[in-house]
């Protein structure tokens, strides 16, 4: 399950907010040497504001092992501030109906099968969040291989809005992600996730990590069965 953490919900999810900053530090600074803001093992930037919403997957200990950030485009956002030239085929969005997705991370130390599950749930959660909040599209800028492996392979057709740009360490491209029930249905069919995944509060007062734990156990059990 994916927990939706923003100014309305963060009190329900313990240390999840700090934990997702820590995950970003591990995945972006430790692993990829990004030159970004840091504080006591946490990565942050100017878009981590009260307007941001974080979609996170937590393990049984409550540690965030997968996350993505999304912010509305009616205020400063990364693509518009840093790389506006990457959007060629449409005006840069400035609307509560279009949100930007950034900082997509999944802990690389997770087993392959669980990484895939976390990615798929984050993608489904994106769509559920968008539908709940009347968001028409997400916009994002990421490396082509991330677009392919996370979104396109999950069945989400992406509309690329400009040319690829080569940065120091990677190539990135800007894309629009349409949000609709039809897209959610297609992604659910492709990923095999048939149920809603987004939680804005723990269910039945369970701690967040307990919900995640039961899911982790389910995946582990399935793996044990397959290993025979």
């Amino acid at each position: 399950m994916i927990h939706c953490i923003n100014h309305r919900t963060w009190q329900h999810f313990g240390g999840a907010l700090a934990s997702q900053f820590q995950l970003r530090y591990q995945m972006l600074i430790d692993a990829q040497y990004w030159e970004v803001g840091r504080f006591q093992g946490m990565e942050y930037d100017q878009y981590d504001t009260p307007a941001a919403t974080y979609l996170v997957w937590q393990d049984r200990q409550g540690t965030v092992r997968g996350s993505v950030r999304t912010v509305p485009t009616d205020r400063p956002y990364m693509l518009k501030d840093l790389w506006p030239d990457m959007v060629e085929t449409c005006p840069l969005p400035q609307s509560l109906s279009v949100w930007e997705a950034t900082r997509f991370c999944v802990d690389r130390s997770l087993p392959e099968e669980m990484r895939r599950q976390v990615k798929h749930e984050l993608v489904c959660a994106f769509l559920e969040f968008g539908l709940k909040n009347d968001i028409r599209q997400m916009i994002g800028v990421m490396p082509p291989k991330l677009w392919q492996s996370v979104f396109i392979n999950a069945g989400w057709d992406i509309e690329f809005v400009g040319k690829e740009k080569t940065l120091e360490k990677d190539t990135i491209i800007a894309g629009l992600m349409p949000i609709s029930l039809a897209v959610l249905e297609k992604v659910r069919k492709t990923t095999g996730i048939k149920h809603p995944v987004l939680l804005t509060a723990p269910v039945n007062d369970d701690a967040p990590h307990t919900r995640a734990a039961s899911q982790e156990i389910s995946i582990s059990n399935n793996r044990s069965k397959n290993d025979g």
């Binding site: 060629e88 082509p144 677009w147 392919q148 992406i158 509309e159 690329f160 809005v161 491209i173």
Partner: protein
């Protein structure tokens, strides 16, 4: 060895050498004692690149001579493998106005080397793969009637099927899949539409088209759209 006997025995063969020995026996009953098996195209499913004479019992000196002069590039028998729907005789290729001097010479030199009454059998494999059998008689005197040619074709086909079975390692099968979107875009490109036109047809930006084309070219290990299209058609990933 009759066809049914060869089918049973070849299906039980546990090595390519054993299979070829059985095939030689079956073909010698038809009068063909000189055989060459070539992969005309790459056979990804068995991890093999194209190669001339990967299994053969042609005269060694002839093969040395043949390869030194790179006859495999101009050999009309090899060329015919790509276009013929079935078994053909070498003598049917001897149409002077259609062959170059080198090609005519290759056929004659083959005969001089002891390859008489030659036939070629093209073999169509999975995902557009093509292989071929060349068969000839060292003594000559083979009657190349329809029945003989049909038997030779059936034997060659069974040999090929058994060969693929022996060489295929299921866990190593490379499996190329194009998504629905990729197939859609590549099909339009294959019909001659430009990227911009394809974008208009499928209602996507040219940048999205480019993204998918890059993905396609990477999957097919092609450095151009033309090559990617050819490979996809050849492998049956798209049809026109």
């Amino acid at each position: 060895m009759g066809i049914e006997e060869f089918i049973e025995a070849s299906n039980k063969a546990t090595s390519v050498d054993e299979l070829f020995a059985l095939y030689k026996k079956a073909m010698s009953d038809l009068g063909f004692d000189r055989l060459i098996f070539s992969l005309m195209t790459d056979h990804l499913m068995i991890g093999k690149r194209s190669g001339h004479g990967i299994i053969l019992n042609y005269p060694e000196d002839w093969m040395e001579f043949y390869m030194e002069r790179h006859f495999e590039v101009t050999d009309p028998v090899r060329h015919k493998m790509y276009t013929s729907p079935g078994v053909f005789t070498w003598r049917s290729l001897v149409i002077p106005e259609r062959l170059t001097k080198t090609q005519l010479q290759t056929l004659q030199l083959g005969t001089d080397a002891g390859l008489h009454d030659g036939i070629g059998v093209p073999l169509r494999g999975p995902r557009g793969a093509i292989a071929g059998i060349g068969a000839a008689s060292s003594a000559g005197g083979v009657v190349l009637d329809k029945n003989t040619l049909s038997r030779a074709q059936l034997l060659a086909q069974q040999f090929y099927t058994a060969f693929l079975g022996l060489e295929t390692k299921p866990e190593e099968l490379p499996y190329i899949v194009l998504s629905d979107r990729e197939q859609e875009i590549l099909k339009w490109c294959a019909t001659g539409k430009t990227r911009i036109e394809v974008g208009e047809i499928v209602c996507l930006s040219v940048h999205t088209i480019d993204f998918h084309l890059r993905s396609i070219m990477k999957k097919l290990d092609a450095n151009s759209l033309t090559l990617a299209t050819l490979k996809a058609l050849h492998m049956g990933l798209i049809q026109l």
